[in-house]
Structure formats: structure tokens, C-alpha cells
């Protein structure tokens, strides 16, 4: 990145829960994205039940846009055990779907890497689930560990100027403020925050916590933004990543 480079403009929203009854609501705002953003990130829960029909609604609403669209899936998108079909419908519409991998977007000579994973729950440091006891409990924790591990690897694989992490589940408890404390373990995992810090991301976006708060930070100082639609209450939010925010050097 050279001195004086214009900021990279990232738009983001999650939890749009598309179905026929929502079709067309976001379209007027996203059709003019190029005026305010260089890429759009979708932070999971793109559908209500994860069906093909709902995925086709997502494709119509967020496909064929003037900027790259990068998505992760959420828990709703897995509800019908058809995540592969949902992914294919989105990819066929030109949407980049990440799950434990990443993509580097080039814009005016700046390389912005986005690493994405759905993530999972488990809770936060000192109050989290452990891989102990019943098989189902160990499977629960292992799923969270695998998600975080794949995010670490994906961030590490990016050759870019600025690294961005995209998840559905939350990496820190701060952006859950407003949710009942009792359900925090179902909303995110400190393992994701640890992965984001290890991968030296500049910023992390997530959704999932509809009653949460917009802003938080990992223990390593990475800005975290909850872009769930019920939190931001607009079609999407926009973030300007300046050259000062670039990830310093290789991992």
C-alpha cells in the first residue's frame, strides 16, 4: 500500500434472513453500492431455513452487484441440512462463499484479504464449554475448535495488505451486550477471537446477535463489529479501512 492511498471501503451486513416476503427490500440500497463501497460482506444467516428457494432469494437480492460480494453462512443457513445447495446457489450468482478459506480482493492497488468461517458457540474465557463428558458435548466443543482453527489458517494464508475476518458467530462478548447473559455460550466463542488475534486481522465482522451491540475489541486489540441487521438497522454499514490500519508485514 502506498502513502496517500484512498481508504478501502467495506460494506457489511448479516442476518438478512431472506425469503419471498423480503425480496426487493435491500435491492435499492445495494444497487448503488459502488458509490460508497468497494466490497460487500454478508455475515451469515442469509436465509430463514437454509432452503434452495430462500437461497435463490439471496441470489436475486445480493447477486449481480457492481462490487464483489463475500459471504459466510450462518446457523439458519444450515437448518435444512442443505448448506452445500445454499452455497452452490450463491456461488452460481457470483457471490463468494467462504468456510475456512479466504479471498484477496484488489482495489486500486490495495490487497484486502478476507478470511471467513461460520464459527460456532461455546462461550467466552472463564465461562466456556470444555471438551469433557458426553460425546455430544465433546462434539459441540470440537466443532468450535475446528472452526477457529480453520479461521487461523485462512488468515495466515492471505497474502495481502489488510486482513479482514468474517464470521457469523461472535468472537468477543462485548458485541453481545444487550443479549441475555445466559445465552452467550450459544452466540460465540473466545476461540474465534483468539484466531483473529493470531491471524493479525485489522477488523472482524460478525452477525448472529440480534440484540447485541455494534462495537467491541479482541484482547489483542482488533476492532470487532456486529453487523447483524437488527443491530445496525440500515441496509448495511460502511467502514473505511485506511492505510494506517493495514496489517503490518507477513505473519
Amino acid at each position: 500500500m502506498t502513502a496517500g492511498t484512498a481508504p478501502t471501503r467495506i460494506a457489511a451486513v448479516g442476518d438478512v434472513h431472506m425469503d419471498q416476503d423480503v425480496l426487493g427490500r435491500f435491492r435499492p440500497a445495494v444497487e448503488t453500492l459502488q458509490d460508497c463501497a468497494d466490497a460487500l460482506l454478508l455475515a451469515g444467516d442469509l436465509t430463514r431455513h437454509g432452503t434452495r428457494d430462500e437461497a435463490e432469494c439471496v441470489a436475486r437480492e445480493f447477486g449481480d452487484l457492481p462490487v464483489p460480494v463475500v459471504a459466510v453462512l450462518g446457523n439458519h443457513d444450515h437448518h435444512s441440512d442443505a448448506a452445500d445447495i445454499v452455497t452452490k446457489v450463491l456461488v452460481d450468482a457470483g457471490i463468494i462463499v467462504l468456510e475456512g478459506d479466504g479471498i484477496v480482493l484488489q482495489h486500486h492497488g490495495v490487497r484486502v484479504g478476507v478470511a471467513g468461517v461460520k464459527g460456532f458457540g461455546g462461550g467466552f474465557a472463564g465461562r466456556c464449554a470444555s471438551a469433557f463428558g458426553e460425546r455430544v458435548m465433546k462434539d459441540f466443543v470440537r466443532h468450535a475448535e475446528e472452526a477457529a482453527g480453520s479461521l487461523t489458517a485462512a488468515l495466515g494464508s492471505l497474502e495481502c495488505d489488510t486482513r479482514v475476518a468474517l464470521t457469523h458467530y461472535a468472537p468477543v462478548p462485548e458485541t453481545l451486550a444487550g443479549e441475555p447473559l445466559e445465552i452467550y455460550p450459544f452466540l460465540g466463542s473466545y476461540l474465534l477471537g483468539e484466531a483473529i488475534d493470531a491471524g493479525r486481522a485489522t477488523i472482524a465482522f460478525h452477525g448472529h446477535a440480534h440484540r447485541g451491540s455494534e462495537r467491541g475489541m479482541t484482547p489483542g486489540g482488533v476492532r470487532v463489529r456486529n453487523v447483524a441487521h437488527p443491530v445496525i438497522r440500515q441496509a448495511f454499514s460502511v467502514f473505511h479501512l485506511s492505510e494506517d490500519s493495514a496489517t503490518p508485514g507477513p505473519l
Binding site: A29, C36, H210
Partner: protein, 81 residues
């Protein structure tokens, strides 16, 4: 059925009934009144939840304060430096 169990059943109904599938709706009881709050993506969903709660609790007065989330253009961008 005690209120506590009825409320738990209602929260699961919101999540698990395919016509609803909402995990973020709050239910507050005030005597014979029940207040619904939360944010959804369409007027259809707002109406559907209110109708379903009225079916479950025919003896209660349902106040549907669920709102539909706006999809307006974004406010000022946030600078990350």
C-alpha cells in the same frame, strides 16, 4: 400450565415453527396482557408471530410491539485507522 413453562414453550415455538423461525423475540407478561417485542424482516412475519401467540394464549390480550427493520441507506461510514 405454569407461566414459566408456557413462556419457554412459546420461545421454542418462535424458533422451531417453520412459519416463524425467529430467535430474537421477547415476551413479557403483565397479568392478562402479553407484550411482544423484537425486530423482524417483514410485516408478514410481524403479523404471523402476533397471530400465532394469540392462538396459543386465547385468554390473554396480545400487544404486538414487534417492529420491521429498516433498509435505508447507511449513515456516515466509520473510519478504521
Amino acid at each position: 400450565m405454569p407461566d414459566n413453562y408456557a413462556d419457554a414453550r412459546l420461545h421454542r415455538l418462535f424458533a422451531e415453527e417453520s412459519d416463524i423461525a425467529e430467535l430474537g423475540i421477547d415476551v413479557d407478561r403483565h397479568g392478562d396482557h402479553i407484550v411482544l417485542r423484537g425486530l423482524v424482516e417483514s410485516e408478514h412475519r410481524r403479523t404471523q408471530i402476533g397471530r400465532r401467540v394469540a392462538e396459543e394464549f386465547p385468554d390473554l390480550v396480545v400487544h404486538n410491539e414487534i417492529a420491521v427493520i429498516g433498509v435505508g441507506p447507511p449513515a456516515e461510514p466509520e473510519a478504521i485507522s
